[in-house]
Point group: C2
Chain length 657, copies 2
């Protein structure tokens, strides 16, 4: 164990003074957590965390996730102190200002060195579990032939709020189940929340709770560096369980209002900032100033990380060429060159097949070809068709499989997948029923915001699922996912569109939602426009009528079109699997496919909201508005909501009348 | 303790045979849980649960929530067996058929005697906590002057899946914190989930987990009636903690595939149904048949509940007239006759005030007048302005307050509020940031589906919240709430619209979302159309231009309109706080306010999705599309996204050019 000196304590205080100066300059922000956890974080950096401030992309770095993202001045201070070139002092001075690299909450897509975007409480806990799964999975694959390419820890700083959120329970339970021995949560146990003392609403025995999940638990004085170091060392010795270190901290330590909810957020005023600096033994008048000796000390810590990175690079050279090539391909996220050829083709003369089943067949093909793919489901494996042929499941102590049994934990699944995607070397996909996308919406949003390449597999995509009824039948989910910026939603109409959708999902850099049917759908005669978001499955050069649909309603429109054509009408049937991809097309292409002066009938088994944008004033909607679904066999449900070829014909003729 | 006889066992088997006959006839459904929990439920009904099958609305009945809603044949069988007039045998024969009273998952708005709508796992756990809070809160208010008007238990049947969902952790933690002594969860601990044995993903020590939350825990053999009775009796003796009874059950008990994931769902086939009936000692050939003696026994259990109801009604007569009148008003949900007069009026000459702050002032007025109102917040009380003046908080052992400290548990808060609303006697409201409505979306949906009168208070409603940045700034939330059937979303433009919105929220029978600003907004000169969903704040009989906005963008449009009018233009400014209320108006009124042949500029700090429906082809949108927000001070953020009067003018003139 180390002795900690005045320099060590002053180095921790540097985090505090930078935090206070930034928050007070911005007149906005949350000083409480960084001030409370400065000592813990200092010990972590000095003795444990290996990152390279000069190259934040070092693949084998330890990951530090600040789940309590409101404490964003903690990671920003650490980046500056350790010498990250992307975080000069000027950026700390521009904390929470427009276009700065120091936004209110940490955003990985904005700031180099930030691992994940956090702020909505709980999210970082699930991200950290995903990162630890990614580490263990990649280690199984790449630590062999005498080399150890992947061997890092994942640390997360979590708050009372994080641990109250349901997703933290789900994530912790999953982590305990899988025995993630390199995962350590540093719990900022400061007994204060926004409303006041946590005792207002929170009286769990946290250590007991985590032991019930299979974690190792420790408690330390967050301001006793030796105590912290001892706990972090002990955590290293526990290799078959994650570790929770409860750090008994004083929120806003050093501020006159330390230890109260008033120290959590908002600028304390310069007088209080000065008082805090005095309590640290720092110059009360110096602003954004770190003494030379202290900065040099921090830079040396940063340099040690750079040296560790260099050593790892040397070690990488020892790897056999083939293993190294595989590793580098995994890091880059290479896809097979022959992806198109590899995708299964479904013959239109074959019998109808549910798009979820087609998706399963696509995965049977793709998963062996793309070693980065790591699948899973929130306990709906047989329904989601997400388990590829012969794929094993990850188990405590054996991560050689290709599949994660997430349990009925949709939110943690999504958050863990985001963590894997942002870890790198993994392209995660995971399934649940489409209706339950609601449970993971905060994580889908964070994937969209942070650009995580996560693939969400949503089956049972409409009232067409039948008997399970309204609680399971999506009505508004398509519309509400389409409302989310940065997410590509794809609802393929048949098996071949499903294969094309998977190709797009793999090629996109951000998150993709695949929305798949429970029921069998006929295979369309033609399929060449999924990448454009919409295309004519059945065309007429001078259509009198547009039938526009997605997913299961495209086949319905094809049936109706035949009846309409038999009556002498000129009909174009447009399959529109993705609004987002269609919106990327130029205006000419969009107008050519969907001319606004042609009457249009939109057919989709969900709310009409948003469709008006794609049609002119002469349009009608065979959709489900103002009500939820119904529990009954498929045919009865479809009849109830008017999804029959006859009704499409009737509505179309009424539109043209 | 009782002796249990063959008749008792046969009575439990009646649940099983009805379940099997219904599932097999429908060729769809989930027999596993009802077969596994039949013995437990029988004991519960025989010795503990007091409900009146003849009058499901008896206010002081015990509540039984089937959180594992896929096991819907359990409550349907119980309703039939105890003689509920709304559940004849014909309805069991029509299980999962169109328009039956026996949909796939239990729906309280369809079936008399079902307490809450369940199916999405975990939801019932939070509902049950809300019901138990409602009971304890109302008991504090109405058990006095020598009478005990409220004194019931709340039971919930929960599955492995329920306990994996994050919301169950949140709900259990809250229940333990509040010491809800009349809450009992019956955990169907069958060790099987859809993917297979729960050991695939779930290895928690459940009893330890619940003890960490402050629960009393017990474990029983779910098929040993004496053991079950003993545990239920013990639970009654624990009055300061909720109780978890882990019922070690065999899923699908009696089926040849009992104890495996194949017994969870789907029809087992008539051969297996017959085999199961043989194992129960029942006639394998009889279908939908309950022996006379057994049915009579069940009906006697039902009759005992009716007698208990009668006794309670007698007891109610003993209450002092004033108390009784108050009680009956609470049950009816009476509002003050003078609601309009009671609402505060905000003078347009007063300085701007945030709608969240106006909401706080409205609550200061309303809460003392409406004793049914029970407020709360997910640890954002000072930000949400949800705590009325002088209101105390509910505490373990003291439920005399008017406010629940939910902790950072948005999902459980929403689910608990739904439970309170469906319990009756309580109109719950609860606050969080609008962005975090995502966390509670499954519960908002269930409120909308089941018609729960829950009031969601969402503050910090746009990028206008400023520095906290994209993780906290709603962009797509308005659109995604508007997509949900059955929910009224209101985004008032000023303090007076906020007061009107609260009035509507109280008068609606279903859920309402109030979407409120963080930043101060000017008080509009006029305010007389919130109830119609939209109205002209500034009118012109023959407008050349419509400016349509909601919330904070209405004031902006007013400023822009002045500039446009100064240029000689005829402008109508429409405030549109609620799409749903506007859609209830007739077509003539809608077209008169928003004529489609007048150019329109929609101004809203969120995605444009859905607005196209309300404007003609000559329209433009000053909205936020294709990106998330930005972290910066308010003025900089608004400028970045173009929400300035100058830009509204520019866009308007471009539209007219």
């Amino acid at each position: 164990m180390s002795e900690f000196s005045e320099l060590d304590r002053a180095s921790a205080h540097a985090i505090r003074t930078l935090t206070l100066d930034a928050v007070q300059t911005a007149n906005s922000g949350h000083p409480g957590m960084p001030l409370g956890m400065a000592d813990v974080t200092y010990v972590l950096y000095k003795h444990f965390l290996r990152t390279d401030p000069q190259d934040a992309s070092w693949f084998n770095r330890d990951r530090l996730i600040v789940s309590a993202g409101h404490g964003s001045m903690l990671p920003y201070s650490l980046l500056y102190l350790t010498g990250a070139p992307g975080m000069p002092i000027e950026q700390l001075k521009r904390f929470r200002q427009i276009d700065s690299l120091t936004p209110g909450h940490p955003e990985n897509h904005i700031t180099v060195g930030i691992e994940v975007t956090t702020g909505p409480l709980g999210s970082g806990t699930a991200n950290s579990v995903g990162m630890a799964i990614a580490e263990a999975w990649l280690a199984t694959r790449f630590n062999k032939d005498g080399v150890t390419l992947i061997d890092h820890h994942t640390y997360a700083i979590v708050s009372d709020g994080d641990l109250q959120e349901g997703v933290s329970h789900e994530a912790a339970s999953l982590a305990g189940h899988l025995g993630l021995g390199k995962l350590v949560w540093l719990y900022d146990d400061n007994a204060i929340s926004i409303d006041g003392p946590t005792s207002l609403s929170f009286s769990e025995d946290i250590s007991t709770r985590f032991r019930s999940y299979g974690w190792h638990t420790l408690t330390v004085d967050a301001h006793d560096m030796s105590d912290v170091e001892k706990a972090l060392r002990e955590a290293r010795t526990i290799t078959d369980k994650p570790t929770l270190i409860s750090c008994k901290s004083i929120i806003g330590k050093g501020l006159p209002k330390q230890g109260t909810s008033k120290a959590h957020s908002d600028a304390p005023g310069w007088d209080d900032v000065k008082a805090a600096k005095r309590s640290y033994g720092a110059d009360p008048e110096a602003v954004f100033h770190v003494a030379t000796e202290i900065l040099a000390h921090w830079r040396a810590i940063g340099a040690a990380g750079t040296a560790a990175h260099f050593a790892w690079q040397q070690h990488l050279q020892l790897a056999p060429a083939e293993l190294r090539a595989q590793f580098e391909a995994a890091v880059r996220g290479d896809l097979p060159a022959n992806l198109d050829a590899a995708l299964p083709f479904f013959d239109p003369t074959e019998k109808p097949i549910a798009t979820r089943a087609a998706s399963g067949k696509v995965l049977d093909t793709l998963v062996p070809l793309i070693p980065n793919l790591l699948g899973g489901s929130a306990d709906l494996t047989p329904s989601n068709n997400t388990l590829p042929k012969d794929a094993g499941s990850l188990k405590r102590g054996d991560f050689s499989g290709r599949y994660v049994r997430y349990g009925v934990r949709e939110h943690a699944m999504a958050g863990a997948m985001n963590g894997m995607a942002l870890h790198g070397g993994v392209v995660p996909y995971g399934g649940t029923f489409f209706c339950f996308s609601d449970f993971m919406r905060p994580a889908i949003r964070l994937a969209a915001l942070s650009g995580a390449h996560t693939i969400f597999v949503f089956t049972h995509d409409s009232v067409g699922l039948g008997e399970d009824g309204p609680t399971h039948q999506p009505i508004e989910q398509l519309s509400s996912l389409r409302a989310m910026p940065g997410l590509v939603t794809l609802r393929p109409a048949d098996a071949n569109e499903t294969a094309a959708a998977w190709k797009i999902a793999l090629q996109e850099s951000g998150p993709v939602a695949l929305v798949l049917s429970r029921q069998a759908l006929p295979i369309l005669p033609k399929n060449n426009g999924v990448e454009q978001g919409a295309y004519a499955v059945l065309d007429d050069a001078a259509p009198q009528l547009l039938l526009i649909a997605s997913g299961s309603e495209v086949g319905l429109c094809m049936s109706a079109a035949k009846l309409l054509i038999a009556q002498g009408l000129r009909v174009r049937v447009v399959s529109m699997p993705s609004w987002e991809l269609f919106d990327r097309q130029d205006a000419a292409a969009r107008n050519a496919l969907l001319p606004k002066d042609v009457p249009a009938l939109v057919v989709e088994a969900g709310v009409s909201q948003g469709w008006h944008k794609y049609v002119g004033s002469h349009a009608d909607f065979l959709t489900i508005d103002g009500r939820f679904g119904a529990s009954a066999p498929l045919a009865d449900v479809l009849r109830t909501f008017g999804f029959t070829a006859e009704n499409v014909v009737t509505k179309a003729l009424a539109l043209l009348a």
